[in-house]
Amino acid sequence: MFEPHLNERQPRVDWKMILAIVGLMIIGVAFIYSAKPPFETATWYKQYYVRQIIWYAIGLAAAISICVIDYHSLARWAIIAYWATLVLLIAVLIPGIGTTHGWGARRWIDFGPFQCQPAEFAKLSFIFIQAHFLSRPTEELRQPMVFVKAIGLTVLPFLLILKEPDLGSALVLLPVGMAMCYVAGVPTRFLLRLVGGVGIFVALLLVDVLFAPPGWQPVKLEGYQRDRLLVYFGRDFASANASPDQRHRARQKQEERTYQVKQALISVGSGGIKGKGWRQGQQTALRFLPPDTAHNDFIFSVIAEEKGFLGSVVVISLYTLVLFTGIRIAGQARDRLGKLLAVGIVALLFSHVFINIGMNIRLMPVTGIPLPLLSYGGSSVLCSLIAAGILQNVYLYRRNY
């Protein structure tokens, strides 16, 4: 690749991306603070925004230390990391080790003061192993067996995460894997077939959920997953031949299930162009936006209500900056391994951003996908910053010294 200004001193880190990330972190802390209930009684160090700052610090430290070691050396550990996370994913399913945090799904492993979501780390180790696997010569990628193996690497964590269940996190692996295969040079016809197959499967699943009679369900979805899909497609919860009583109960349930989405939309929409001002959002102050999700999965609703469309544009712009510097890094990478790592991370971050913001405006069904760097949550912040660190790593070691 030909660099136009060879004699100029090349920066060692991509400052644009770092600025964008710092900007996102500031926004994150500010609005997690804003999303706290008005009469929060917890001591200051237990409050979410303080803990988020701590996580940012830990995450930055992790990102910097990632940069110390050349990504080639890191990639050698990819297989071990991959299997280790698979073990964690299995462990989290065992009731004694994994906890549910009172939610429906078993997603967390308790480490005393903090909990970790192995699914988040599985995404990173998956990107590493996939990049490592696909960085073989392009000719080999033309063999169907290689493609099948690549799919196999995706399906293993996919199924385990699905089992938690965490459909959102599991589904994110698919576009990431696809993007990496595509950029690596896997023939398009293979990918199209895969996309076609998955498409048919998803279509069948939707038909099953939306139209099948209640007693007949060949694919078993969790109750809440089915409900979320029904909400997303705006379908009546009651089946056509339900009794008035059933219908009444179904209506009530529908109201409960639609509540979050409805309140998120009201938050975002009522923000208007300029928003109501920081800490002036009524949806959180009056607890219409459920306080237990306002600071994590629905943080974007808080930002959009308080800062309006202008705030949303700023957030999207910052993500655009991160994603496109990521793509540039992929283009500038020294080798295919670096390029694929960068592509995987860009795809991962993009999927998160798209699904999470999309869910706030009812473009996407509700899933537990956090918004990178803005949502409260240790595992998510840590992984996002490590991901950014890997990008910088690829950038840093783009030349042989």
Binding site: A179, L286, Y319, T320, F354, I361
Partner: protein, 666 residues
């Protein structure tokens, strides 16, 4: 540019990736623009509707005052205790979690499932909330010594539907209870004292028919959608309260209450404050009104006397007293009526809710002879000319007259009658003879100018027109068959004629003032309570002439003279009304109430004005009598009129030293 550089890459697959990412982000931006810019109004509206409740605040009702500014209807502060549930939330929470712990422990001991289902937890929440509230309320009931008012069903209903307003707990606290409550409320969370204006009629049943009463107002259908809650409000049901409801009511205020997702009140904001209603000033003089009602209650059946008294100023048509009996206490309607009270209000015979003075229609009897007299005198009757009244063969001490083949009795003794004697003795023979001579058309024309058969236009709505035959009416109802018999009946105020006491007062006033037929005036002005209000005071003109009798001065003087003799001659029928120092002029009357061909009772009248020289008062007294109860205008009504005239005389003497001409001004 960073973005376009990536789109122009020579690595085609990376370029595709960049395009995908860019279009994904553009979709998000587009979606956000749609939600936040295009649909912003809609979402802002639904945010307001889910977090604001509008509450309608009734304004303080205006007063009703008499001509001298004495209050006839006003508002009285009623003290209530309200409970602000949002202040009890910490208590709800701690009691709930304590109970939940205890329940879980007990379940654990029993060895069963320790976790409660969602429905069970909701039920537990309901129960614990009620326990907290009922414990607190019980402490207040103990200290106030009142019965325990809280009902679980009502509480839950309030909690579910009206959480944004405080819950009323006690109402109508007495001063000692207020004192005790204020002393102890400091250590009770959530309780607060609230003052609510309540309508009060300080003179109870006095002028009840004119004032009317209030009834609780339910939300009209079209307003329902706007207000989430209406504070209790009342609307006028009858009388002035109804006629001037809009002015009295003022402008209702609106406040908005900000609520959280559970419906608890967070803050309040008054959008538009309530503006107090305007005061309505009547022409009524409370002293005269009271005297008139007292007089009625000394009638033949005490407070159950069915009758009416109207006192009017003949110079301008102002009503000084409009009394009807039996009466009722309008305060009862505010407190709510007991079964017995409702029964007596709807008594078939007494009908206390009817204003007999303005809405009751009666045959005028001999009172109407004044009209016949005007018609005859105008037709050229010579007042000195005598007419012989022959004795009735069956009752030789009474006279009689044959009209066609029908014999009409005359209670006046047989003998010769000139105009004055005929009016005093109320001779049927004389007036039928002269009425027929003058012709029915002259009588009908006078009745038309007096607007008999038409409403008097007072605003209280209890305003009957009565009946009076016109040529058109004759055509429509009798097929044009009008005989001398009909005219003879009309000449003695029977048959196809029915009037209200108020209409009679208008007639007598016209005789007294020289022929002016007034619109009676009841309301003199409406003015805002606050002199700096935007509302302009409204004056209703006095001496509003409706018509003119066009009867010569000579004829009226002759009638007035005869009416004066009726009270001042030894054999006058109105002599029982005599008051020393006041020249009263009167005509009495007794009309039969027929049911088929049977006489079931009498309407007895006393129609008068005073003083003779310079009339200031017109007074009409009417009493309904059952058949069998002896009585006549002379025996029953004249003494009542006497009482009222005495009171008027006393009132004038009291008023004169401090306010010269105060009454004349009325």
């Amino acid at each position: 540019m960073l973005i376009f550089d990536q789109l122009r890459k020579n690595d085609r697959r990376l370029q595709t990736l960049a395009i995908c990412v860019l279009s994904g982000l553009s979709i998000l931006l587009l979606g956000l623009w749609y939600v936040q810019v295009v649909l912003a109004k809609r979402y802002q509206a639904s945010q307001v509707s889910q977090s604001f409740r509008t509450v309608r605040i009734p304004a303080i009702r205006g007063k009703i005052l008499d001509a001298n500014g004495t209050t006839l209807a006003e508002n009285h502060p009623d003290y209530n205790v309200n409970l602000y549930l949002e202040e009890l939330r910490p208590y709800f929470q701690s009691h709930y979690s304590n109970t939940l712990n205890w329940v879980t422990k007990e379940l654990g001991k029993a060895g069963g499932k320790t976790k409660l289902s969602r429905a069970q937890r909701i039920e537990l929440g309901k129960q614990t909330r009620f326990q907290v509230v009922s414990n607190l309320v019980a402490r207040v009931t103990n200290s106030l010594g009142v019965p325990f008012p809280l009902n679980e069903k009502q509480f839950l209903e309030h909690y579910d539907q009206r959480l944004f307003i405080p819950m009323p707990v006690f109402s109508g606290l007495t001063p000692p209870q207020i004192a005790r409550f204020v002393e102890q409320s400091g250590n009770l969370p959530g309780f607060d004292l609230d003052v609510q204006p309540t309508r009060i009629y300080p003179h109870h049943s006095t002028a009840a028919h004119l004032l009317g009463y209030l009834q609780r107002e339910d939300a009209p259908m079209d307003e329902d959608t706007f207000f989430n809650y209406r504070l209790p409000d009342f609307t006028g049901a009858t009388g002035i309260e109804r006629a001037f409801d809009e002015s009295l009511r003022g402008k209702t205020g609106i406040k908005t209450v900000l609520v959280n997702s559970l419906g608890y009140r967070q803050s309040e904001n008054v959008w538009s404050p309530a503006e107090p209603g305007q005061n309505v000033y009547l022409t009524i003089d409370l002293t005269i009104q009271k005297a008139a009602e007292q007089a009625l209650h000394s009638g033949p059946e005490g407070t159950h006397t069915r009758g009416a008294v109207v006192v009017m100023d003949p110079t301008n048509g102002d009503l000084l007293a409009v009394a009807s009996s039996p009466t009722f206490d309008p305060n009862q309607f505010i407190q709510g009526l007991s079964h017995d009270e409702l029964q007596s209000l709807n008594d078939y015979k007494l009908r206390p809710q009817i204003n007999r003075a303005t809405a009751g229609v009666y045959a005028p009897g001999s009172i109407f002879k004044t009209v016949v007299a005007m018609a005859a005198l105008e037709a050229g009757l010579n007042p000195k000319e005598k007419i012989y009244n022959p004795p009735d063969p069956s009752e030789p001490w009474h006279g009689h007259i044959f009209v066609g083949r029908r014999k009409v009795k005359d209670l006046a003794p047989p003998g010769d009658y000139d105009f004055q004697r005929a009016l005093i003795k109320s001779s049927n023979t004389y007036f039928i003879t002269n009425g027929l001579k003058a012709g029915v058309d002259r009588i009908l024309e006078l009745g038309k100018r007096l607007h008999f058969g038409e409403r008097t236009g007072i605003p209280t709505r209890q305003d009957s027109g009565g009946t009076f035959p016109t040529r058109e009416w004759q055509q429509a109802n009798l097929g044009g068959a009008w005989f001398d018999g009909n005219t003879a009946n009309l000449c003695i105020g029977q048959g196809e004629i029915a009037v209200t006491p108020l209409q009679v007062a208008v007639l007598i006033s016209a005789i007294a003032n020289g022929g002016k037929v007034f619109w009676p005036r009841l309301v003199s002005r409406v003015e805002p309570q606050d002199p700096f209000s935007n509302y302009q005071p409204v004056e209703y003109p006095t001496a509003h002439v409706r018509d003119n009798l066009n009867v010569s001065r000579r004829s009226l003087d002759l009638i007035r003279e005869a009416m004066h003799s009726d009270v001042h001659d030894a054999d006058g029928t109105g002599r029982r009304a005599f008051v020393p120092g006041m020249h009263i002029c009167a005509k009495t009357g007794t009309a039969q109430i027929m049911q088929g061909r049977k006489i079931v009772g009498h309407t007895v009248w006393f129609a008068s004005f005073a003083p003779y020289e310079n009339p200031r008062y017109t007074m009409v007294v009417m009493v309904e009598l059952d058949e069998g109860i002896g009585g006549s205008g002379s025996e029953t009504c004249a003494p009542l009129a006497h009482q009222v005239y005495l009171a008027l005389q006393k009132h004038e003497q009291q008023a004169k030293p401090n306010k010269p001409g105060a009454l004349a001004k009325n």
